[in-house]
């Protein structure tokens, strides 16, 4: 739309014709208060806080529904408007309980803030206020009716935003209440978005309510540990005797691609961190075969000695390493470097949930062909094949819905089963079960209306699920690449399960691939790695098979429950020395010889890469006495094995030069044991070898695709990467077999091992299955 010029409070403003006055004003720095207006949701004009005076119009107008046109003249802060706002607040407070001292929202309540800025200093209300008892709608959502100001944000967010439509209004007038449409309980996705958008303390969270005052928390912006979408999340943390606990998760600052969106897992399922089952001290198997608590020094010494012994006696090939889908890029990088240069083995793998190697191979030699979440959010046309984002990738589902709703993007869904996103689809194509491998052929034929419509789209983002593996994934990408060389003609996204599944693959947790999908057999690959074995190692099943045969001397498992996931007879590991780094005493940890209690993603720093290839910073929020980040554990293990840690973590003068300001150094004259230790070891005093950022330079230098815009990354923004595999790189067949990919298929209320230790998630799942049963009975 063409720009128009209009005048607000004497200031000449310009905005595209049809812009809402409230938006135009806010953009120009003119504050217009509003409760019911919420960007991206339908207009209500119900709260009447945004009333402004338009010249030549008899009544005050709502800025949230007035569109600007050439030559209009507005006033937003005359005595008349100030009085209108003041009265509106007085009216709202008429029935609103002033229980601010105990209200969850106290201190971050929009009504409080508005009263402070626009309200009356005293109340005229002397009559009895309406009261209704508080209701619990689900384990996650509570509703305190008297506090509700009926701005309808929750209803719209649930309906328009989430496409769930679980909330409505009962009664009318002053008796109006928000209610679950289903009766007294919420049958929904339990995302908690209703709580998030509530401007007051009417909707409160089961995990947060009455726990703290907002100002008692520190707010740390990090990345969710659950699915592969990588939502930014702000954790509210508070100190405890044992460190720092997480009391709340939200994303009210709307930073990151997810904006204010979080799903049930991101919002409520941080409680595994504080689980009573957390390991908080190392365990070492004693002479009687029992795991007993030990000091960190002892446990590291035992593990290091044994690993060194086996390596020296039987060679690196007698040792296996299994990595994690939730540890950071730096930890994954360090783990494979540790395996390859210290343990001298290529026997390294992880629980592959998606065939990223096939994806990298398919895209080898291309550039600008992967879709970031931002690309998806702005795409004009999207083909979604396989997967069920609503359950497995809630943020993706949110972005697709929003893009369709607000930008009229065209969504094409091809799936073997109906999925909820069909409702937003312009066209759907039902595929026979198991026919994904033939999809590319089907699309090429182009005879159906579906493929014709796709062919007519000028630019297309193709998102596909883990159903595509090996050739199927490669064929689909090949089909897409034929659309044209223009970066807009096609972009791809591949859906994987966990917070850093992509990072695990990118960082080379493969027996045949180094970081960046560089084959270990490639001549001159990672030449600076000392002792790098040139032949591919064993895949996870091969390692376990070797262990069963007594051929695997040691197994180091970092953040994975291999025994449970592989349905392994734990006796198979009886002849293997097993070291496990984990949060919990998993089935694998239970059979280990040394168990090292690890920090969760919320208790460490680093970076993670979501399944779309967006790298984001992880910042330490919580703290738990007794646990250590996997990064530090690996460095300590290496150190105890007699390795010069500077070769592993190049934090010395040759490597990282960043001063993270953590120490002024011993030269200042004060007692700084850590700095003295660094100095004594000839290390850079400004950066600790335990700081994951110490390997960041090396990753950027050695891993194709990871030379990223560091300023943006450190500022907390997402930075896109794509696999830069060498064209024609040949994987080792058995090692890269699609059958090794076993998706986790988590739902909205499960999250692998972590999910099992989240009380809230279990409660939510129980609640939802009850609601489902109820719906079925109806």
């Amino acid at each position: 739309m063409a720009d128009v010029t209009f005048i607000v409070d004497g200031k000449k403003l310009t905005a595209p014709a049809g812009t809402l006055l409230i938006d135009a004003c806010r953009k120009a720095g003119i504050e217009i208060p509003a409760f019911c207006y919420y960007p991206g949701l339908s207009l209500q004009a119900a709260c009447r806080m945004c009333l402004v005076r338009q010249e030549k119009v008899p009544k005050l107008q709502t800025a949230c529904t007035t569109t600007v046109a050439e030559g209009q003249i507005f006033y937003t802060s005359t005595p008349e408007i100030e009085q209108a706002r003041k009265a509106m607040i007085e009216l709202l407070l008429g029935n609103h309980p002033l229980d601010c001292p105990v209200c969850d929202a106290g201190g971050e309540c929009e009504l409080q803030d508005m009263t402070f800025k626009y309200g009356a200093g005293e109340s005229r209300m002397v009559d009895v206020k309406r009261h209704r008892d508080e209701q619990q709608w689900s384990p996650a959502v509570f509703y305190d009716r008297p506090r509700c100001i009926l701005c309808y944000r929750c209803i719209r967010m649930c309906g328009e935003g989430m496409d769930v439509w679980a909330l409505g209004i009962h009664n009318r007038g002053a008796n109006s209440v928000i209610v679950p449409n289903d009766g007294h309980q919420l049958d929904c996705e339990q995302c908690g978005m209703c709580i998030d958008v509530c401007p007051v303390g009417a909707l409160t969270s089961g995990t947060y309510r009455y726990k703290t005052r907002p100002w008692e928390m520190s707010h740390v912006s990090t990345v969710c540990t659950h699915c592969g979408d990588g939502c930014k999340v702000t954790l509210g943390v508070r100190s405890t005797a044992e460190g720092a606990e997480i009391v709340r998760a939200d994303n009210r600052d709307k930073s990151g691609i997810n904006g204010d969106f979080l799903c049930a897992k991101g919002r409520f399922s941080f409680d595994f961190v504080a689980s009573a089952d957390r390991l908080t001290e190392p365990l070492v198997r004693n002479a009687q075969g029992k795991l007993e608590p030990a000091t960190w020094e002892h446990a590291i010494r035992v593990a290091a000695r044994k690993l060194k012994e086996i390596r020296d006696a039987r060679g690196g090939s007698a040792i296996g390493v299994i990595g994690s889908n939730r540890t950071t890029n730096e930890e994954n990088y360090l783990l494979q470097k540790f395996a390859r240069t210290v343990l001298t083995t290529n026997n390294i793998d992880h629980a592959r949930s998606t065939d990223y190697a096939a994806f990298a191979r398919a895209l080898a030699g291309t550039e600008g062909k992967t879709a970031s979440l931002r690309d998806i959010a702005a795409a004009s046309a999207i083909l979604l094949v396989g997967g069920n984002p609503t359950e497995e990738h809630p943020l993706l589902a949110w972005l697709l819905r929003t893009n369709v709703r607000l930008n009229r993007a065209k969504l094409y869904v091809a799936n073997s089963q109906p999925i909820k996103l069909d409702r937003q689809a312009k066209a759907t194509q039902r595929l026979p079960v198991g026919s994904y491998k033939d999809l590319a052929a089907f699309l090429v034929q182009g005879e159906s209306d579906f493929s014709k419509a796709l062919a007519a789209e000028e630019s297309l983002v193709v998102i596909f699920g883990e159903e595509f593996r090996g050739d199927a994934a490669e064929n689909l990408v090949a089909w897409g690449l034929k659309r044209g060389p223009n970066p807009d003609s096609v972009r791809f996204a591949y859906l994987g399960d966990y917070a850093n599944s992509r990072g695990a693959a990118d960082m080379g947790l493969f027996p045949d691939l180094l970081p960046g999908y560089v084959p270990v057999t490639a001549p001159g690959a990672f030449a600076e790695y000392a002792n790098l074995p040139a032949t591919p190692g064993k895949s996870m099943p091969q390692m376990l098979e070797a262990a069963a045969k007594g051929e695997l001397g040691a197994l180091l498992v970092v953040g994975a429950d291999t025994v449970s996931r592989s349905s392994l007879d734990s006796a198979a590991l009886k002849n293997t020395f097993v070291v496990v780094q984990d949060l919990f005493l998993t089935e694998t940890a239970a059979v280990a010889d040394v168990v090292l209690p690890a920090a969760s993603l919320y208790e460490k720093s680093g970076t993670v890469t979501n399944t779309y290839g967006d790298i984001q910073m992880v910042r330490k929020a919580a703290d738990r006495a007794g646990v250590k980040p996997d990064f530090e554990i690996l460095v300590r293990l290496a150190g105890a094995m007699g390795v010069d840690v500077a070769t592993l973590v190049p934090f010395s003068k040759r490597g990282t030069t960043g001063d993270l300001g953590q120490s002024r150094g011993a030269q200042a004259g004060e007692a700084d044991r850590h700095a003295v230790w660094l100095e004594a070891n000839g290390l850079e005093p400004k950066l600790s070898p335990f700081d994951p950022l110490a390997v960041f330079d090396e990753i950027a230098r050695l891993v194709p695709g990871y030379t990223v815009d560091r300023i943006n990354l450190f500022a907390g923004n997402d930075v896109h990467t794509e696999p830069r595999a060498t064209p024609g790189f040949v994987p080792v067949g058995a090692i890269q077999s699609p059958s090794l990919v076993v998706p986790a298929h988590d739902t909205l209320f499960t999250s692998g091992t972590l999910g099992c230790y989240s009380t809230t998630l279990r409660q939510l799942e129980e609640h939802q299955s009850k609601e489902l049963a109820k719906a079925a009975a109806d």
Partner: protein, 438 residues
Amino acid sequence: MPRLVSHPDEVKIVSSRFGKGAANIDRYLELGGYEAVRKCLAQGPEWIIEEMKASGLRGRGGAGFSTGMKWSFVPKQSAKPKYILVNGDESEPGTCKDHLIFLHDPHSIIEGAIIAGLAVGAKMGFIYLRGEYRYLIEIMERAVADAYERGFLGKNIFGSGNEFQVITQTGAGAYEVGEESALMESLEGKRGVPRIRPPFPAVVGLYGGPTVINNAETMANVPHIIRMGAAAYAAVGTPRNGGTRLFGISGHVERPGVYELPMGYNLKKMIYEVGGGVRGGRKLKAVVPGGSSTPVLLPEEIENLGMDFDQVGKAGSMLGSGGVVVIDDRTCMVEFALRTISFYQHESCGWCIPCREGTDWLKKSLTRFHAGFGTASDIDNIQYLAENMLGRTFCPLGDAAAMPTLGFVKKFRQEFEDHLNGKPCPYAREGVPQLTVV
């Protein structure tokens, strides 16, 4: 069946068939029914709209907007179907005119709707009846069925090749749905709350199509205007206030009832001559001129007041829906205010803050005040609340509550003060139950 009243001053146009069995289609035809629509079929849409404009007919629902103008706003071309909507959700206290039309002359509404359809090019009409008028729906449905049977409705009305269908619908008991956009929401099966305007119904209305929505009385006037001619109709009223109006005279009068009088008829005469004067020869204390939402007028204000939109507006009130409520000198105006606000508190849809909270607060204050627990500051507070609701609500319901309240407080402040300091209501009478604090 309600008792029909009459007075020599009446000019019977809309009510001309009342009491004559016109609900029967044959009788309606005998009385000149469906002649107007035949004339319109011959003359064409532009002519109809010009006639409507010339007649000076203004919306009988209360806002008084020119009907001809309203029809002319409907775009000629529209991708979506156009609709005619008859608003029979008559719910304003003191208003009881539309139900007589539904009862005695249902075909006039159908005929008016057909003419409106011809004028704007709509093929579908809805007649929306107040939920509480359930006993009228059968009459209305019978009339619609008869009209279909005669070929007056359907795919080819009067053999003209034009299509017009009519569907009847009843409300679910919400005053708010009398507001045109809320009525459309209700008709679409949604919660009866008003819509954001613009867009106006003439452009985006029912089911997103251009919609003409008129009050039932307005619609019933249409065939008469066509039959008698716009000029003759206009001549009955005052300038810019064409024709007659059904005035529902109620309250403390000797002969309450619905009378059809020319626009601009003197209010004092209406009370004392048409209505037979204040009941029992008592003194007139006040009169509500146009339904409960209009500010009350004092006896001295009605001396030379002609009942048309412009004159009543000038007198500081509104002609509204033509519900004249006569109040005698034994009436407690605080109680009257309380009863009025109780209605609006009960009927507020709750959508916007000032109406939802304002009516509730006013009711609480007035209830307590009338029971003798008021304080001097309450009077100012009541006025403050009403002033701050006025003009700031989403739809006119908030104004409908605020305007009369302001009238009561400003014009009868002394009566409010008489309730102060724990004094019993000065108007309390033996045997008449008093409102108490709930």
